[in-house]
């Protein structure tokens, strides 16, 4: 296995998306992936910093990347899609603009070399860990489970970057799900916006966007939606009762993290995977 990867948890994994963090850590343990949490990390600036003050947002991430460099890592894994998007975008900008890097290093008093790669969780699992290694760890194949993989708007769309998967119709998470023995269904809403950014501020718009995603998943006959983004999970899961009623949806749709599904197939302790933390219960009898 690789020398290890540096985990950037961000505010979500240590907060509302604890299930993501816990399942991820356990799955990594099962796979023998060594993973160390970045010490002294700071906010990635996802919510407002990048929109309000571009330099501030760059500086925040320069600090995070510099910390990773200090701690001896050349790669940072950001499971949260928003963190990934901000860190990767900042890295892209800093990495190709030496003058900018020099200026921000000077202003912040840091010494970032511009060389730390930022990775997302799906790509890391599919490519670095590998589908064969994942399949080899499957103790109870999820035979019979039909899932739709929801990548959301952020994970595949870092502007101006070399895409790590098809931006509009990615497949990496589908392949992981297939490696677990489940069936990943074709559907239309893989990368559609779920409106998580408006979760608090504009509930109606948010509900409409979520309802379309849920509706297609239901119509395709999916048993669950698999995600790799804390906001997506939160947004698709939390208010389902009201959205279902308002948009006339026939049944609830569980929303699980890909790492939770992996843990289940690996035969890990279900309580540690925190499946019960979701609002919509996910029940799948693992043989």
């Amino acid at each position: 296995m690789s020398p290890g990867i540096c985990l950037f948890p961000g505010c979500t994994l240590e907060g509302s998306a604890g299930a993501f963090q816990d399942s991820l850590v356990r799955v990594f343990q099962a796979l023998g992936v060594s993973c160390e949490t970045l010490r002294d990390w700071s906010c990635c600036g996802a919510t407002s910093a990048h929109a309000v003050d571009h330099d501030l947002y760059l500086a925040l991430n320069l600090r995070n990347l510099a910390k990773a460099q200090e701690q001896g890592f050349n790669e940072v894994l950001a499971p949260c899609a928003a963190c990934y998007h901000r860190l990767a975008s900042a890295q892209l900008e800093l990495g190709k603009d030496a003058a900018l890097l020099t200026r921000l290093n000077a202003e912040t008093g840091l010494g970032y070399n511009g060389q730390v790669a930022v990775r997302n969780i799906v790509d890391f699992l599919a490519r670095d860990v590998g589908l064969d290694a994942i399949a080899a760890k499957v103790a109870s194949p999820l035979t019979g489970l039909k899932a739709v993989c929801y990548y959301g708007c952020l994970n595949t769309r870092i502007p101006h970057s070399e895409p790590v998967d098809d931006r509009e119709y990615p497949m990496a998470m589908d392949r992981i799900v297939e490696a677990l023995g489940a069936r990943a269904l074709d559907w239309s809403y893989k990368t559609e916006c779920c409106g998580a950014g408006l979760f608090i501020t504009n509930e109606a718009v948010c509900a409409r966007l979520v309802s379309r995603i849920l509706k297609d998943a239901i119509a395709r006959g999916a048993d669950c939606i698999v995600v790799a983004c804390p906001m997506c999970q939160n947004n698709l899961d939390t208010k389902q009762d009201t959205i279902r009623a308002a948009h006339n949806l026939p049944r609830p749709m569980p929303v699980v993290f890909v790492t939770q599904l992996m843990g289940l197939a690996f035969g890990l302790d279900e309580s540690a995977l925190k499946l019960a933390h979701s609002f919509v219960p996910f029940e799948f009898a693992v043989k």
Binding site: D166, R167, E168, Y169, S188, Y189, D216, A219
Partner: protein, 1522 residues
Amino acid sequence: MGTVPSERPTGSETGLSPFLRDVNMENSRKKVGAVLVVGGGIAGMQAALDCANSGFKVYLLEQQPAIGGNMARLDKTFPTNDCAMCMISPKLVETGRHLNIEIITYADLRRIEGEAGDFAVTINKRARFVDEEKCNGCGDCEQVCPVSIKDTFNGELSERKAIYRLYPQAIPNVFTIDKNYAPPPCRGTCPAGVNAQGYVALISKRKFLEALDVVRERMPFAGACGRVCHHPCETECNRAKLDAAVSVRNLKRFVADYEWDLIRRGESVERPPSEIVPPEKQSYTEKVAVVGGGPAGLTCAYDLAKLGYPVTVFDANAELGGMMRTGIPAYRLPREVLDHEIRLMLDEGISVQTGKVLGKDFTVVQLKAQGYESVFVATGAQLAKKIPLEGGDAADVLYGVPFLREVNAGGKPSLGSRVVVIGGGNVATDVARCARRIVGEGAVSLWCLESRPEMPAHDWEIREAEEEGIDIHPSWGPARVVRDNGKVAGIEFVRCTSVFDEDKRFNPVFDTAEKQTVKADTVILAVGQVCDLSFLEGQVQTNRGLIEVDRLTLETSLPGVFAGGDNVLGPASLVEAVEQGHRAAESIHRCLRGLAMREDREPVARPKEFADIPSWAGCACVARNPMPTADLAERATSFTEIDSGYTEEMAVAEALRCLNCGVCSVCRECVRVCKARAIDHHMKDATRHVKVGAIILTNGYDVFDARRKSEYGFGRYPNVVTSMQFERILSASGPYEGHVRRPSDGRVPKRIAWIQCVGSRDVTVGNGYCSSVCCMYATKEAVIAKEHDQNIEPTIFFIDIRAFGKGFEAFYNRAKENYGVRYVRSQISSLKENPENGNIIVRYVNETNGRKQVVEEEFDLVVLSVGLVAHHSIKDLVDIAGITCNTSGFVQGKLPLPLESNREGIFLSGAVSGPKDIPETVMESSAAAALCGELLSAARGTEVRVKEYPVERDVTGEAPRVGVFVCHCGTNIASVVDVAAVSDYVASIPGVVYAEHTVYTCSQDTQERIKEVIRDKKLNRVIVASCTPRTHESLFQETLREAGLNKFLFEMADIREQCSWVHQREPGSATEKAKALVRGSVGKSKLLEPLQFRRVGVTKAALVVGGGIAGMTASLSLARQGFDVHLVERESELGGNLRRLHESLEGYDWRRHLETAIDAVASEERIIVHLGSEIDEVSGFVGNFATRLKGASNAEIKHGVILIATGADEFQPDKFLFGVDDRVLTQRSLDEKLADGFRADTVVMIQCVGSRDAERPYCSRVCCGTAVKNALAIKRKNPGAKVYILYRDIRTYQFKEDYYREARDKGVMFIHFPDDAYPEVTSTGKGLRVAVRDTVLDETIELSADYIVLSAAVVPDKANNRRLAELMKVSVNEDGFFMEAHVKLRPVDFANEGIFVCGLAHSPKYTEENIVQALAAAGRAACILSKPSLEVGGVVSHVDPDKCATCLTCVRECVYNAPFVNADGKAEIEEAKCQGCGNCAAACPAKAIQLRTFTDAQERALFRSILHEEETRSDHMVLADR
């Protein structure tokens, strides 16, 4: 990314051709009068025809099996909605028949050496596995081919066979076999080379006996192998990647059993008739001995016996079969199967001597002494391998091989009640299972060293053994046999921890601490077999217990003695033994015939590569058909067969699971039915070398792969199709036979959406350019769909509608107004599918009730208007041809002439240099032909062939002697129409002196036969009853000419399309109809008359009207091609509009170009310039015109052709304060100002001034590009300047799009206003103000401007054009531009032959396009001027002056202006102009006009003879009618 426009071209990169080249110096070098045209699409065909028709030999190279290119796939063409196939088909035929065009299809360009004028070209002609010379295109092979794959020609919406013709009208009309580059895994892995895909494919079509023949080609033991083979074919089967492998072995068994069942029931096993001629059986005298009657020996004997050798098989046993008999238990291989198969083999004439033991009864050397000239030793591995085992060497310890031999011979060895079998291989499982059948359940256990996964026995053997109740104990090694009173009492085992060491060598390691003793009264050791080679007595060399042989030939150390099978390989499988037998037979044959022993032979080896899983193989899982087996309880106690075999239905279902990875399955059904014997599965690629003087690249384009825009779901949503697929959906020859259906459920779609710019104008996929054609083809598709079904509601989602070509804007308007096509200006970002009904959901911005909002709408079908991308073959051209490509992958043409590549002598035409439509492509081809003519004029006529014919026999006064040839067309006609009956019937008609029926009347040998009959029977009329005259009439007419008969004494009856095809189910009536049709032809033929052609000379001079850049370019080209030119210009100087233009959008210097051109014209002695003069009068016809000038010159000019290049002008607007305020300019005056240092801070440009309005409904094409050019120029001078371009649609097509993007990047503001709300311009004290309705903001905004620039229309000089049109009898359209003969395929010709048009006189165009069109006109003109004379006459109209009333009906009716009133006041037809259309004959009220060969009398005779049998029989009645 698109081309980067910001780099300005420098002088050295731009070709100033054709003006700067020193043609005379070039002409002094040696030139080859031949041209290579690469690509057989419309561009290639036009280039080939123009080159060939102007005196050059042409090689036309095409990658596909047929010419026709993408145009052959289109349904209709815009803007006239002509059927693409109807237009292209005559071109196909003309190209295919041209004496001086050699079509080389299915071929790739490999190398171009040499230089302009003298190139050496290497071509690789791929094997098509069908002999083009012999194939008649009858299609019998296609009928029987069992392999269906997705038809790429139809966009994979339908299927085609592995042997196929690209499309029904394909030229050459021959078939091609599609084979994969590598063998399918099943065939590749079989040691004996048995063609599994072949027989599986045949089984899928219920051709069971034919399938068995395929098996038997390499496997004489089909039934045995079908039962016991270890089937490596299944292990590697690609289907396993989807669900499970095809049950190849069971299918093989099925066909063997099928035949055997028929035999046992006494039914016929006769195969259908076959054209495959088995090699004649020889009778050689050299005797061959085969020692050993196992699979290897018998196979060898059988092969040699079939070749004709006297073979004797010696075997030690009483019965033949070897290990198949003595080693394999009967429950796996019933003896009667074996007996049957051996009997069939022996029937080939093999002598057998059983009970003869080598080494005891005879030796190898003795055999040689007895006159056996060659010996094959295949004695097998008959001995059991022994291992040192304490207590194991006594006689009561049994061994596997002899045990099985005894059991299989019907013996019943005495076994105890506790049997322990030791060994993990297949012999051990066989032994255990046999023992279990003898002693019963629970008494047998099996022990082996290997762990369970390591056991060498096949999984299914182990599984079945377990099912039968045998306990298996892996990882135990025997330590000693425990004896009690000397008798076996048990056996002690120790734990085996590993069997193989790191090098995978057998090296078992035991843990002696772990041991157990098992009670047993019988121990059977089955731990291997070895060969008994004692009989060799040292006569043949051995090595480690095996006979030493040459692995390729199997020859031993003793010459003439061969060995194979287990005694060479060690214990091996049945298929491996059979392979050895074939190999030995081949060697013995070669040896005895003195042939090279090693040539063309391969050792058994796994191929490097297998055919991959086909791209179209979906994952529709179909479970493997399980083999029905006998009940477990029953089977475990008897030796009757376990597997009972597939039923027919199971076999067919299983065979249909095959993915046909190899495409062609080499089943040879095509060979069986091909009466022309054209098929050759052993064909190899061939290399051609040709010498040419010039090369035209017309590689064409590919369509964008819509899968790359994954947001549209193409390939996932069945109801999202590409525009090319939709063309096929519309086409009558397409997947749905012209009915508009959607792929998911075949339902007729109502709401259809087109999404524009898929893969075009999109830098994210690397295609920044505009594909130029999509707006119009989408419009056409929408209109045609609507014509197919009025209920269809088409919607086109677009960014800009780019209707910039001639007639396009009117077409677009018609689509909106007459057809109700809805256009929505909204670029669609993604498509969603409604999972309930398969509909596609489109989200877009729409204006409803004056408010813009996002709406979602469902469509039944969505068509992606995919762009055109560089053809895949272009990449290789960079190395092969040394040309360069632009960043979009198209070949880079020089400025200003995109027809020239950077390598001299290599020209470009069509989409090879960028996306373009058909007329432009056709123009470029004619222009490229002109450039070839310039380069090679010295060699014109040196490589072409002129056919010489014998003098025609004078048949006047002869009574009709009719010969009739009735064609079978393979089985196309003969399977329905009784051709013999037709022939017999026809022979009885009076006047018919000869009738016969031939398999293919069009074949070369039949042509010779027809000539012979014409001579022998003194025929003076010939009739062929076969297919359509459209494709075949001229072929037969040619044959008549070669036989010295006038070609108009030929008549054709179509009994295929009109009889066998349409009346397939009524053979009786079809035959009667065929008789009637032929009878009609006979009736007509008696009235046929020989027609003669007249030759008229050609004046080798051209008249060019108009001295602008188009006229000058055409003049220069014609002069350089060796023709005289009169250039007439009404103004006092040359140059026209170009005098006021400075540079092109691309930065090319027009000023310098113009100066150079004027100098070149002046110094060209073949050009006479008539300035200040106009055309006064024109007379004559093609080849022989006479024109009088007026003005400064009133010369009388004689010339062969006319080129009209009278140009157009810029519109002078009457709005927007133009002419009132001098800060309001047109683009042309801005262009001039820019050259003189214009500077402004704010400029507003208004597009479509005077274009696209009620008065001038056409688009002026150049204004958008000009506005972008001038905007960029302003920005270059003053980057801070504000430039606004107010537009309706920005029409920067092709690579001009890159400049539009650059302009946006540089801050030029583009504001879209509605079609019906033009901006308003006012002048205030402070300056100019413009109010414009911005459709994006949905608000009116006000701009102030220093200058306002109007993009004014291009307008023709209507009065002058009309005057010229009348003088020359050509037409102008309603806009005042000259109207060409056909907008698509004849863009520079007029219907009147010998007159051509180019430049702005034809339609608005950019200067470089005018130059191309001028060259095209020159190229077309050269086709006439290069001929020494023109043939006139033949099938033309003729006026009977006595009947003519001089009513002028014919004069008005004829579009070619052929009729005129002569000096006698009667109508007369100018034969040189007559095209034989017959319009005048039909229109003439006095019936004074007759079209020759279609005279009233002839046609009446035809119909009367068809309708009334007696008419034909009483000749006088018909004759009386004349």
